[in-house]
């Protein structure tokens, strides 16, 4: 089934993905001299590193008979050899050797996708390569900053990428999906502010003078041993098109000025999320939790990574069930709530990107 979005008065349940954008192809450590295959934006891609360590992304199908190059091996310099008939390509996707003949067919090329390594990820551009400007890589600077420490994992989410974005743009679901860790009723009771600027959307929510939920109480005690008492809690969700969401989260001792900018009496984290469409019905969800305290503690890095991994497992289950319900009820529409304003701006931005690519169908 192909996802088609339309300009319509109803809300598109799921969206196709813009192609003229950077998506994460993988963690930097995943891409090695041993080629790997990953489906990105519906297309299988072979990822590997050259002898010089440069990341390369080629279409994972040999020009000749479409055998997966990822099953082949990397050769000298920047080349990779097809495992089937030994045809060798360079990092530009050009054939450099056809073992069974003295010349090379000038048409023998496989698509090569622009890649950029940044923020511990290998980013890939699946659309028009003439538009692939590295300055357009979404900001995830906390991933490589000296002032932040942390780690993350990848979730293979069996749902359209838009559903993950919806999930992250409205965190009132924490009260219900994550009740044992970060959920609390003040989330849905507190007010929030949504701001859209160009291809960015920010949703800010403050909860004043509340009890810290278990996850945050633990973090406060890592920094302030024996901490007891009320906190001010914040969640500032920063979306950057097409699918990167970094969430500034934390708590500080209540009334110590965190809402006004003094976070010294608190703990601060950034939940870094970037979603790569795999197919119209599945996504690679790359996330990390970065913190700005106890930077040297690998123990805390591991505890936080594992803790968040557990929390996100609850989201994964919900998202999979939601996608299944969408597919099983094709004649039912989506309705929107006031809390969806962030997610709705995301949809609006993605729809305008799709329209610019000529990929937004007119309403039926």
């Amino acid at each position: 089934m192909t996802v088609v979005a339309t300009t319509s008065s109803t809300t598109n349940k799921v969206l196709p993905h813009p192609l003229n954008a950077w998506y994460v192809a993988g963690w930097d450590h995943e891409v090695t001299r041993k080629p790997m295959s990953r489906r990105i934006a519906n297309r299988p891609v072979a990822l590997y590193r050259t002898e010089d360590g440069k990341a390369v992304a080629l279409a994972d199908a040999c020009w000749h008979r479409l055998a997966p190059l990822s099953m082949g091996k990397t050769m000298e310099k920047d080349t990779i050899q097809c495992p089937y008939h030994g045809i060798v390509y360079n990092s530009a996707g050009r054939c450099v050797s056809m073992p069974a003949q003295e010349t090379i067919n000038p048409s023998a090329t496989v698509p090569s996708f622009p890649v950029v390594e940044r923020y511990r990820y290998v980013w890939i551009w699946m659309g028009d390569p003439t538009l692939a400007d590295p300055d357009l890589v979404p900001d995830m600077h906390q991933m490589t900053s000296d002032e932040w420490a942390g780690d993350g994992l990848t979730i293979h989410a069996a749902c359209n990428f838009q559903l993950v974005l919806d999930n992250l743009m409205d965190l009132t679901h924490e009260e219900f999906v994550h009740s044992s860790t970060i959920g609390q009723e003040e989330l849905s009771e507190s007010d929030f502010v949504t701001v859209r600027e160009g291809n960015k959307v920010t949703v800010t929510r403050w909860m004043h003078n509340i009890d810290a939920p278990p996850f945050w109480l633990k973090n406060m005690r890592d920094k302030f041993p024996g901490f007891e008492g009320k906190v001010d809690r914040w969640q500032i969700i920063n979306f950057e098109a097409p699918s990167t969401i970094s969430i500034d989260v934390g708590v500080a001792k209540a009334g110590t000025g965190a809402p006004e900018g003094d976070r010294s009496q608190g703990v601060n984290g950034f939940v870094m999320n970037t979603i790569t469409p795999e197919t119209d019905r599945s996504s690679h969800y790359f996330w990390a939790f970065m913190r700005n305290y106890a930077l040297d503690s690998q123990l805390i890095t591991t505890q936080l990574r594992d803790g968040v991994h557990g929390v996100f497992g609850e989201d994964e289950e919900m998202l999979m069930a939601q996608q299944a319900a969408i597919d099983a009820n094709p004649d039912y529409e989506f309705y929107n709530l006031n809390i969806d304003s962030g997610g709705m701006w995301v949809r609006r931005i993605l729809e305008s990107m799709l329209a610019a690519e000529g990929r937004l169908a007119a309403s039926a």
Binding site: A92, V96, Q101
Partner: protein, 335 residues
């Protein structure tokens, strides 16, 4: 450059036909299923020759951002069978069957330096690449070679767009291109894209190899329609099929054999893949190899040829001065 080459046929309306150089017409088409044409792409279209539909390929010279307007340019070939004559006779409003743009000659974005080389009508494959490199602010030189200015399409437009990045060589003005000098300007970070007569491309290819430059950085497209010698009529004999066929000037050996009912193996029909290879058992005359499948060593052996593009000529050396009287005769064993 995720290029897919699925042939999607559609109708297109001729919007404009104007001369842009001696014997060259600029044809603007409005396709019914528009798709943006990437640099280096071409369309296949059906021309009518003697009332029969025949497929021809033309490079897309320019396209607007959504592909609703495609421009091709066609040179009226004196020895053609009538395809280019048909194209020159098109009138606005006429409809053609054409494919969506197809890609065999992709431009790679991100090379440090580019040399684009166009010979004559080869400019049609190169012009769009040059426009994209200009937009990307890439380091490129556009080298345009022709016999005379009046036969060179788009000179004024290219000069205006590319300014000093355009380098023009005109034979009848005595400013012919020096291939060694051109290739000498390339280094390991240079990609050279060319389209033009096979003599020019062979010379560049040979020099490129002599200079020990990486062959994958030399990009070219061939439509298999030019050789070292003018096409002559010749006779091909195929004992296996008990056939003797005359190959006229404007017809390939493969086509002539097909016309005579021989079931031949082939694929690209432009001298790249080698599938139409036939073994030569007897020859009076010489072979004008027009393919890029064989190495020079293999071409010199003269034991095989790609019958989709290569031809027989009367001269035993291929030179005009010792051209024979009768047509060349070649005996082959097909695959």
């Amino acid at each position: 450059m995720a290029a897919t080459n699925i042939e999607t046929w559609q109708s297109a309306t001729v919007e404009q036909v104007v001369p842009v150089a001696d014997g060259i017409a600029r044809i603007v088409l409005e396709p019914s299923l528009p798709l943006k044409a990437e640099p280096g792409s071409h369309v296949d279209l059906m021309v009518e020759i003697d009332g029969e539909p025949v497929k021809r390929s033309y490079s897309v010279v320019e396209s607007n951002h959504d592909g609703t307007r495609l421009v091709i340019s066609v040179m009226k070939a004196p020895l053609s069978r009538g395809g280019s004559t048909f194209m020159h006779g098109l009138v606005p409003g006429q409809r053609l069957e054409i494919t969506q743009p197809l890609q065999n000659f992709p431009l790679r974005v991100g090379a440090r330096r580019y040399i684009l080389l166009a010979g004559g009508i080869g400019i049609t494959a190169i012009a769009n690449m040059a426009a994209v490199l200009k937009r990307l602010k890439a380091d490129y030189t556009l080298v345009y070679v022709g016999r005379s200015r009046s036969a060179m399409a788009y000179l004024a437009e290219l000069s205006e767009l590319h300014g000093e990045r355009l380098e023009v060589h005109v034979d009848d003005e005595g400013s012919s291109l020096s291939v060694p000098a051109l290739v000498g300007r390339a280094d390991a970070d240079t990609e050279l894209y060319m389209c033009g007569p096979i003599r020019l491309m062979d010379a560049v290819r040979r020099t490129w190899v002599e200079c020990e430059l990486d062959l994958p950085n030399l990009r070219y497209e061939t439509f298999g329609n030019s050789g070292w010698y003018d096409p002559e009529e010749f006779i091909v004999r195929v004992p296996k099929f008990d056939l003797e066929v005359t190959v006229p000037q404007g017809r390939s050996m493969l086509e002539a054999l097909e016309d005579a009912g021989a079931e031949m193996m082939f694929d690209c029909r432009k001298g790249e893949c080698g599938l139409c290879e036939v073994r030569i058992t007897e020859l009076s005359g010489a072979i004008d190899h027009r393919d890029v499948f064989y190495s020079e060593r293999q071409q010199r052996l003269g034991t095989k040829m790609n019958c989709c593009v290569s031809r027989a000529v009367t001269s035993p050396t291929g030179s005009r001065s010792d051209a024979g009287a009768g047509p060349a005769v070649i005996t082959i064993e097909p695959n």
